[in-house]
Each structure stands twice: as structure tokens, then as C-alpha cells.
Point group: C2
Chain length 406, copies 2
């Protein structure tokens, strides 16, 4: 299916010609298929006739931009897979697809007759991709999974926050998005292999497992001292082993500074006008500084708190000392760098107005960026897709519509 | 190069036969090549003759397990690319590779004559993969990038923590690992496309861009109310729009509970023995509960604080109410579920002793898990790899060794 779509002319998009049936919702699965769409795959987003959850939230609780971002360049098609005719329709669609992606709880689609066994029976070359909270096997298989609960289970919450304070979740939905991008990786890996073998397969990821490696530093500290691993370390190094390494107060917010190498620290002293401390035994060498973290942090804070965060960062960066302002979301969505690189793009969305949406973080030389298509209205592509993929005519479509199947 | 390696017998690993030259270090790049190795690619980790940074940290600051985890199933080969002979050697190796991966700052490898232009000139089918903090172009291109500074720049720190408290970084190294897994996705996408076109290319990701989408909820809240977006919301919903949705105190720690759907909340009242509140106007409907978050949280806390976290979670999960204990790292590395699924495996590492290491979160049906090989000692595979790839004999190897090139 993919070969016939290769273009002989201008370099095509890397996933051009790949047909994706996308039964995902909210963040995790839709991010995977967003990445596929932005790499040139043809993604058909299947939604219940009432629309997926995130589309609803876009009407009420501030999910307009997330919905628009994660569903750009996808076609929207409705299909009620809980009806007999809907399931039949879905199986027919699966015979025309390269990839089927879903992020329902384990067993839901099996019970509806559209699980891996069912779809691979009608299309042996199909790559069937499943994303769940805890995977398709094991004792926690059926645990309810959302970003917050997976952050709790995976150690993200326990390791986030200040030692003397409460544990707190990471602001970003790390479990959802680690899940989503690992799912993308698994799908494309299977596509690569299928080019050589011709065979489809089941691929799966769990949000919990996809989050694990990101805790490497805390895991390392635990193994170093299993009896009493370091607590949450706030903005300090996860083993309290480096200094300066923290987020410091500034006139207008906060600024991150990492000056733990001796050369960095010496340059930092010069910039702060504190070369008098160059030989101070509390500060000579990383080990000494790590034993005097409070003194180091006081020293740096006293300098940063009289300056603007962007000025501190600019001055330190010019001296090749790692530093960055702690930026608010308003600064992030207006980031001049990401806009200059085309990573963010202002669009006039037909439903949500003027918003900034993201392009794929994956860049491929030799192809122009794919033209951005705003997320589609619910079912906007029903007629075209059902006609293209299955040859359904207007009578047939009307009957499906009237029965509430699409 | 890949075709000749396909096995006709038992199903091979999905990336079997793919040869990877891995010039990455610390977390971001090595995670990408770890995922490749665990999918069956042949990964040759090139290190300076003194070893990469994380190998050093493994000797001092608790990075034994991170180093062992991220470098499993790779061969270790030393090469000083800052010497003329080293560069020549590297270019020769690049003629035999499918993929070259690096995560140096932009321009470093170009200046050393082993950038994309140099290596694609000797191997037009090579996929050259670059991971940086901010990408290969744009105004921030040369900003120093580490997980902490990218968390600051990307909005992770500003959105993490309690409204009345200080901003705090996410405990996990989210910028590093989002970068790493996006890099994996970009590489495999290019490999897929190369099967159809035969052509190599440059692929790149930035840590900043790879982190952006995970902030979708906060970005959505910002666009909903740009003049005064919600502050950090601790463990509550990012728009304070759902309740109960929080981390609550337990006898022995904390427990996450998300009972925002009406049916969840009614079941929760029953479990807490508070059906008397079923008609309380503060709690009827999501909108009412969201307006009375403090009352909802007090109600739930009063029940959870007299019970163990695992008991609360078990009872709520049995009632299909999303919940999870906030688990410490000690619980996470010993997770019965991940061990049962083979996601974690205890190994006796020849250098680091008995440790738990992770397997790839990506699972592919039809292949057995790849046998786990502990991370190799520095340069352990010099002789074999240089002989296999370049046909270097013992005299040649001795000369390179004596000159400090390998």
C-alpha cells in the first residue's frame, strides 16, 4: 500500500502514503497520530458520532488549543463502533489501512470485535498499535490510568517538589505525552520492519513504562543509597551533588543557573564581582561547593535578586554558563525562537480563532514542512473518506447517517 | 545494508541489521540509541578514550544504574574525534553505517570535520541524527542546554508547584527524555522512508520543541484567559475545573484520586460512608464541585488520612474510580507489575552489581524480547568492531592505541 504512493518528483514526506485509522482520544494516542500526520501520513480520525472527549472539553474547559494542536492535518470521520453496522464498517476500513491506533483500556476493543485478533484476521499486513496506562498484561493491567494516576504510580510525584514540602505532580502531562511519543516510535519501527517482511503485527506501549527512564537520576540515587535515598530535591541536583545548581529569585521572577564546573563557577564569581571568593575553601572544587550548597545558593541569590531574569540569563549565557529564565506560559507560546524556527505557527482556526499551534518536533532535511491544516469539524470528512476508502455512495451514507452509525 | 541482514527463519527483531554509530552522551541521545539497540539494531557507542560524561558520573555521583540502563546492548568503542586520525577513522566508520547519532552542541561536529556535510559526502545513504537543546537554527541555537535550563525555558518549571509556593522543576528529566524519544522517532521515520527511496538525510530534534506539547493543558488555559491564566495548580486540575482531582494525605504517604465524573463522585461518597452528602448543592454536578474545591478536598482528605495509601487506592480502583498511591522510588524500582511484564529486570552487572534495568517500553508481537547485555566497559569492543567494520589488523590497532586515537 505504501509503495504505490511514492512520488518520483520532489522529495515526498517521510510517511507519505501511509494510511492510518486513528481511534484515539484525549492526549496520548492523538499525539502519536499527530506526529504521523505531520510526517505526511494520511490520518483518519474516527470519532463516535458525539465526538471524542477532548473535542467536548474544547467547548468548555480550555482545551481548544490542545484539541486543535493534536488534531491538525487529520480528517475527521464519525463511526459508532458499539453498533453492529459500525463494527462492520470499521473492519472494512481496516482492510484498507496500514496502521490502526487506539488508546482504550485493555480489552475494550476486543469485546467489541475490533481488537487485534479481529482486525489482523481481515488484514495481515496491518500494524495494530495500542497505548494503555499499564500495558496489555500484568497485575495492574486493568488499573484506571490518567496522567495524574500514572504520575503517582511511576514516581514522578514523589520526586517532584521541595524536600520540606509536599510532593507535587509535574505541570506537564508527562505520562500522557511520553506514552504518545513512544507509541509513535513503536508504530514507525513496525512500519520500517514491514517494508522488509511484508507482515503486520501488534505493537504496544504503556504510559507507566514510557515514563520510567525519565526518572534515571532519582533511580540512580536510590541504588547508590537504598536505605535512605535523597528526598525530593526541589530545583537542586537530584543527589545534592552539584552547586550552583538551582532556580534563583530575580526582580521579575526566577532564573535557572547551573555553574557546577569549576571553570563555570570561576567565571560566575567574576561576573558577580566576587573574585575575592575565588580561594574561599567553601567554594574551591565541586565537592566543597556541594557540601556548602546553602552558602553557594545565598551567594548567587544575592546577585540574581537585584536583576531581571532575562538579564541574568543573557549575561551568564554570554559567558557560556548554563542559565535560563523561568518562563511563564505566555512567554512560551510567544517564544521568538520557536516561531522563527517554524516550530510554532499562528493560525486563524475556523472554530477557535487566532491560536498558536505546534508543528512536529521531528525535522527531516530535503522536504518542505507540510502545509498546516486546522483540526477538522466532527465528521467533516465522512463523505469523502467513506467514498474513497470503501466506495460508499450517497444512499449508503444516508442510511448510515440516519441509523446513527456515522 | 539492511536488506542483507534479514533473517528468513524465526522472526527477527524489528531493527535487526541496522548499524548505528552512536556519538551521544549523558541522557538524551543515549536513550534514543538504547531504544534502537533494544529493537535489535547494532549500536556502536563511540566514546573519547577517557569515556563519556555519564560513565564518569557512574564512578562518583550515583549514575551507575542510569549508565547501565541507557547503554545496555551497545558495544563500546573509543575514538578521539579531535585528532586527525580519529576523524579519518570516524569517516571510514560512517561509510559502513546506516545511522549516525550525536547530541553535541550545534556546530561542534561541523568544526571537527564530521558534521552532516562531511559524513553525507562519504555515505549518501546515511541518516545523520542530531539532538540539541534548541535546534540547529534560530536565535537560541547556541544557548547552553541541560535538562534544568530547558525545563525553565519551556514552561515546565513555571507550571509545576503550588499556587502559593515557588516554581519547581519536574523531578524526572523530562526535557532530556522527551528529546531522546523524539530523536528515536525521527531516526526510525527516516529509516522507513529510506527503504522506499534509498536516500539518507539529516534529521534533527530540539529538547525545547520536544517538551512543548506536554504542556498542552497549561497552554489551553492560557489561551482561554490570556490576561490572567491560572497559576501553578499543585496537584489540582490545570484549570481548577475538576474536583475531586488531587493528591490526598494518607497514613503512610499520599494517594491520588480523580473522581470528577458524577458517577465516580457518587460511588466515592458511598465508599466514604457519606451518602448523606449526595444531594448537597456544593457537590451536585462538576461545576458545583469545581466551585467548592476546598470543601471537596477536605471531605476526601478526612477519609484518606485515616487509611493507608495502598488501601485507599485498592478500594477506589475496585469501584472503578481512578486512584493510585504516590509511590516512592524504592517502590517503583521493585514494582511487581513492571517486573512481571519484563519491563524491569534484575541483572548482575559485572561492574555495578545487582541492579534493576529497564527494557524498551516499545513491544512488538512476534519477536521474543532481545537478550539483555550489560553495558560494556570502555573500549571493550575496539578490536572486534574495528576489525569487523574496517578490517583493521592488530598492528594498525596497536598504532592507534599508542597514539591515543582509540
Amino acid at each position: 500500500m505504501t509503495d504505490s504512493k511514492s512520488s518520483a518528483g520532489a522529495r515526498h514526506y517521510p510517511l507519505q502514503g501511509v494510511r492510518v485509522l486513528d481511534l484515539t482520544h484525549i492526549y496520548n494516542g492523538p499525539y502519536a497520530t499527530f506526529l504521523m500526520a505531520m510526517a505526511g501520513a494520511e490520518v483518519v480520525k474516527l470519532e463516535p458520532p458525539t465526538g471524542e472527549h477532548l473535542r467536548h472539553r474544547a467547548e468548555s474547559t480550555g482545551a481548544e488549543v490542545p484539541f486543535a494542536m493534536l488534531n491538525a492535518n487529520k480528517r475527521s470521520v464519525t463511526l459508532d463502533f458499539k453498533s453492529d453496522r459500525g463494527r462492520k464498517l470499521l473492519r472494512a476500513m481496516a482492510t484498507k489501512a496500514d496502521v490502526f491506533v487506539e488508546n482504550f483500556a485493555p480489552g475494550v476493543l476486543d469485546r467489541n470485535g475490533i481488537g487485534y485478533e479481529n482486525l489482523s484476521a481481515v488484514n495481515s499486513t496491518l500494524i495494530y498499535a495500542s497505548a494503555t496506562g499499564y500495558g496489555l498484561s500484568g497485575p495492574y493491567r486493568d488499573y484506571p490510568a490518567m496522567d495524574l494516576t500514572v504520575q503517582a504510580m511511576s514516581g514522578v510525584i514523589a520526586t517532584t517538589g521541595f524536600p520540606e514540602g509536599l510532593p507535587v505532580k509535574a505541570g506537564p502531562a508527562v505520562a500522557d505525552f511520553f506514552g504518545g511519543v513512544h507509541l509513535y516510535g513503536a508504530i514507525v519501527t513496525a512500519l520500517f520492519d514491514r517494508e522488509r517482511t511484508g507482515a503486520g503485527r501488534l505493537v504496544e506501549i504503556s504510559m507507566q513504562e514510557s515514563t520510567y527512564a525519565s526518572l534515571s537520576s532519582s533511580i540512580g540515587q536510590y541504588f547508590k543509597n537504598p536505605a535512605s535515598p535523597p528526598p525530593r530535591t526541589g530545583n537542586s541536583h537530584s543527589g545534592f551533588a552539584e552547586a550552583p545548581y538551582n532556580v534563583y529569585p530575580a526582580l521579575d521572577g526566577y532564573v535557572a543557573v547551573v555553574g557546577n564546573h569549576d571553570a563555570h563557577f570561576q567565571r560566575l564569581l567574576r561576573i558577580m564581582g566576587r573574585e575575592d571568593l575565588a580561594e574561599d575553601p567553601r567554594f574551591v572544587g565541586l565537592a566543597a561547593r556541594a557540601s556548602n550548597i546553602e552558602a553557594v545558593d545565598d551567594l548567587v541569590s544575592n546577585w540574581t535578586r537585584t536583576r531581571k531574569k532575562s538579564e541574568v540569563a543573557a549575561q551568564l549565557i554570554a559567558a557560556r554558563i548554563p542559565s535560563a529564565p523561568v518562563r511563564e506560559i505566555s512567554e512560551v507560546v510567544n517564544d521568538e525562537h520557536m516561531h522563527a524556527r517554524g516550530a510554532l505557527e499562528w493560525i486563524d482556526h475556523p472554530r477557535y480563532g487566532r491560536i498558536a499551534v505546534q508543528r512536529s518536533p521531528m525535522r527531516f532535511s530535503g522536504t518542505d514542512p507540510i502545509p498546516l491544516e486546522p483540526s477538522a469539524d466532527l465528521g467533516a470528512d465522512n463523505d469523502e473518506v467513506y467514498a474513497d476508502w470503501l466506495g460508499l455512495d450517497e444512499d449508503k451514507l444516508r442510511s448510515l447517517r440516519e441509523a446513527g452509525v456515522i
